[in-house]
């Protein structure tokens, strides 16, 4: 609904869940934004929609001259558009509110300029209404830092191509707004006129509110500068994440994950990275690989589901041979690889062979590489290709591999770099070559639960390996068991092996929950320093809350709010005494410890 009161020079737009009033009597002012269901005013005072700064002088939208107002309330979409002019610098601007699907409104700010001598000036923009946005006690969930760790950095491992919304949420009643901004520039932000990226990249709320963001107005025609889609929330972060996830996925083709021939990978959770030049798998006495020895050792870990047989690096480059020739030179050559893959399958284990993109020579082309890879798979019957250092795979490889040998899973070392690759690559590693990996939820784990990505950090030792296990438990993922890092033997301890074995048991026993399509990362908790994720089966009958205490102190008392029907449960990981009291999970979490509470729902 659009209400244009020309006498008052205001325009109000509403859709039943939110209500905007814009006042154009003196420039343009955002007079109110109401959250209809809660009845809350989301602006603590009438606010500037934007402010512009050029050569030190500040020009708020309320000081622009309104030259035109367009209101259309009878069509779909409804539009309220205001054309503004900053006469000091001849900067023109259009501010539009446009109704959209799913009870949304999009705020679009477009700008253009006629610069003196046709030489663009640096102009800086900030969103004035962010100051005083949200009722007292509300908090921001920033796209680049939805929930901070104790050190202030993001507790979510994010992804360049899937920008979380920016949310403002009143914690007790969970009312709020989710602001979705599309980042059209992705990896190359510097020369875009659209500056959504600047708002998306803010990692603290003061920067979101106060920072001046450089915009590039290079010519007179209006260019999109900021585009924010507003959604009203009634159930806080959980709703914001769920709805955003649904919209992201609805624009993608995820059929690859449904292919029956690739389904085997979904539960291939514990992967062994097998350095071939090691007693782990190589028998120096007879000069052959000893698969049984390797897999027998894996029993201590609960068993390996797959192995990546790694034999190129660091040998490759010792002479002019290419990686394809090494397949023939390793013990028993290509026939040996075929036998090894068959023997592994007979024990329920899948085999991946690596592809090294850095070993490309002048006489190779994409076509010849694909041909070599397809030939290798056809000759060895291996189950998958592991793409070293890669985050994308060409479509043509997928097509030709399917034609020659269906069922071959592609797994990249790095998480898929873009939406397109996410559609093609059904597995990757959650690889973290750093120490501070907890508390962290990995965004892709929750956005694409069907994408299997075991956690790994190959140079971690001691407590670092403990943390690696905690990350897997906290996020409900498998692990890469990598003990021989190119000749540096860094095994898991007996205790760590037992932990992994126990974790695998829990993961598989509760697979209906962990494989559910709607896990929630960074589920709200009552205590700073306490982090949680929620996993739920698709039939809604089972749920597990993983909790992590990132502080140095015991956290005791009410921990988080359970769902209405969750009135009982059991802690799976440490046998801790967690109770349900008045719909709240109650108990104690030791410092730096993970707990897993499996809730029991009652009808």
């Amino acid at each position: 609904m659009v209400l244009h009161e020309e006498a008052k020079q205001t325009v109000s737009v509403s859709n039943g869940v939110m209500y905007f009033t814009l006042d154009y009597s003196h420039g343009l002012l955002l007079r109110q934004l109401s959250h209809v269901n809660s009845g809350l005013q989301w602006l603590r005072q009438p606010s500037e929609i934007f402010e512009l700064r050029i050569r030190g002088a500040i020009f708020p939208a309320s000081q622009f001259t309104v030259t035109d107002v367009l209101v259309t309330g009878d069509g779909n979409p409804e539009v309220a558009a205001f054309t503004l002019l900053c006469q000091e610098w001849d900067v023109s601007c259009r501010v539009s509110l446009v109704s959209g699907a799913e009870e949304s409104y999009t705020l679009l700010i477009q700008m253009g300029a006629r610069w003196p001598q046709n030489a663009p000036e640096e102009a800086y923009l900030r969103m004035g209404f962010f100051e005083g946005f949200g009722p007292e006690g509300s908090r921001w969930y920033l796209s680049a830092n939805p929930v901070p760790k104790p050190d202030g950095t993001s507790a979510m491992n994010l992804h360049d191509d899937f920008d979380l919304p920016i949310c403002s949420i009143a914690p007790d009643i969970r009312a709020g707004f989710s602001l979705e901004l599309r980042d059209y520039s992705q990896h190359v932000h510097f020369w875009n006129q659209n500056r959504n990226c600047d708002l998306l990249h803010k990692t603290d709320e003061m920067a979101l509110i106060n920072d001046w963001n450089l915009i590039r107005l290079s010519n007179e025609p209006l260019a999109d500068v900021i585009e924010i889609r507003f959604f009203a929330l009634s159930n806080g972060w959980e709703e914001a994440f769920r709805q955003w996830k649904r919209r992201v996925r609805s624009e993608m083709n995820l059929e690859e994950y449904q292919r029956p021939d690739l389904q085997w990978y979904r539960q291939t959770l514990f992967q062994h990275f097998t350095f071939a030049y090691s007693s782990e798998v190589f028998n120096y006495e007879d000069g052959r690989f000893d698969l049984d020895r390797l897999l027998d050792q894996g029993v201590e870990f609960g068993g390996y589901d797959s192995v990546i047989l790694w034999f190129q690096y660091p040998r490759l480059g010792v002479d002019e041979r290419k990686q394809w020739e090494f397949n023939h030179d390793i013990p028993d050559g290509v026939p040996g690889l075929k036998r090894l893959a068959a023997a592994a399958r007979a024990r329920g284990v899948r085999v991946f062979l690596p592809y090294n993109p850095w070993d490309t020579r002048a006489d190779e082309s994409l076509d010849s590489i694909i041909e070599n890879m397809v030939t290798l798979v056809r000759e060895t019957d291996v189950d998958g290709i592991w793409f070293d250092t890669m985050a994308t795979v060409p479509d043509t490889l997928r097509e030709q591999m399917d034609e020659a040998h269906p069922g071959v899973v592609f797994c990249t070392e790095h998480e898929p770099a873009a939406r397109k690759s996410m559609e093609t690559i059904t597995g990757s590693w959650d690889q973290l070559l750093r120490h501070d990996i907890m508390p962290e939820a990995s965004l892709l784990r929750y956005l694409f639960p069907e994408h299997n990505a075991p956690v790994t950090s190959r140079w971690q030792i001691g407590e670092g390996k403990d943390t690696l296990i905690k990350r897997a438990v906290f996020n409900g993922t498998g692990l890469v068991i990598w003990q021989d890092v190119f000749g540096a033997w860094m095994p898991f301890s007996q205790d760590q092996r037992a932990s992994i074995r126990k974790w695998k048991g829990i993961l598989l026993e509760n697979w209906d929950i962990y494989s559910g399509s709607s896990p929630i990362p960074l589920y709200p908790t009552f205590e700073g320093g306490l982090y949680a994720n929620r996993f739920v089966s698709d039939d809604g009958k089972g749920a597990i809350y993983s909790l992590y205490n990132a502080t140095d102190q015991m956290i005791e008392g009410p921990l988080l709010t359970l769902k209405e029907k969750e009135r009982d449960g059991v802690e799976l990981w440490r046998g801790a005494a967690l109770l349900v009291r008045n719909g709240l999970l109650d108990g104690a979490v030791e410092p730096q410890e993970v707990l897993l509470f499996r809730a029991k729902s009652r009808a």
Partner: protein, 209 residues
Amino acid sequence: MEGDCQYDHGPREMTVGPIHIDTFPVTNRQFKEFITESGYSPGCDHNFLRHWTGDAPSEDIADHPVVWVSQRDAKAYAAWASGRLPYDYEWQFAAAGPEGRLYPWGDVFSKDRCNWRGPRLTPVHQYRCGQSAFGVTDMCGNAREWVEDELDDGMHRFTFLRGGSYYQGPHFWHTDGGPRPNTHHLKFNLLSEGHNRCGTTSFRCVREA
């Protein structure tokens, strides 16, 4: 490479010799003589002398350092020649001399004194100007050299390759190649014989004096 040698590089005091060390790496011609006279045949012949035509080297490579031989093949030759391979530290002393030179000829690299980037192997005597203080030749670039050492750390068996080679793979993930100073050794994880034979690895012999 990612990670490193995982080896104790000292300092430690070593006593070298007295030994005689070959002036040149063993050539294809010499290796052919060895096979002819000894009847040597490796248990696994994968990649064994794969650059030869039939059972002999072509004449144009006869004086090149023999490659596509494993450490075991090299040790068999050395035994036949009444010697052994030099230990890692012996090789370094023979190259660096009593002055501890960084390169066999001195402390500054010179591309005129070694086969530093191919495009193929060269005869062992081509770079006499690159000899060490002891007159030992072709110790930098051209072909890497096996040493006598075979180490076992409980999980791996490995040795070292010395001197670098003419070949350098195009990417930094490729094995360290090119000519290398006397202080450098390349850790070489051993696998099967066929896979241990390379197109850039040769050897020379020592004999106790």
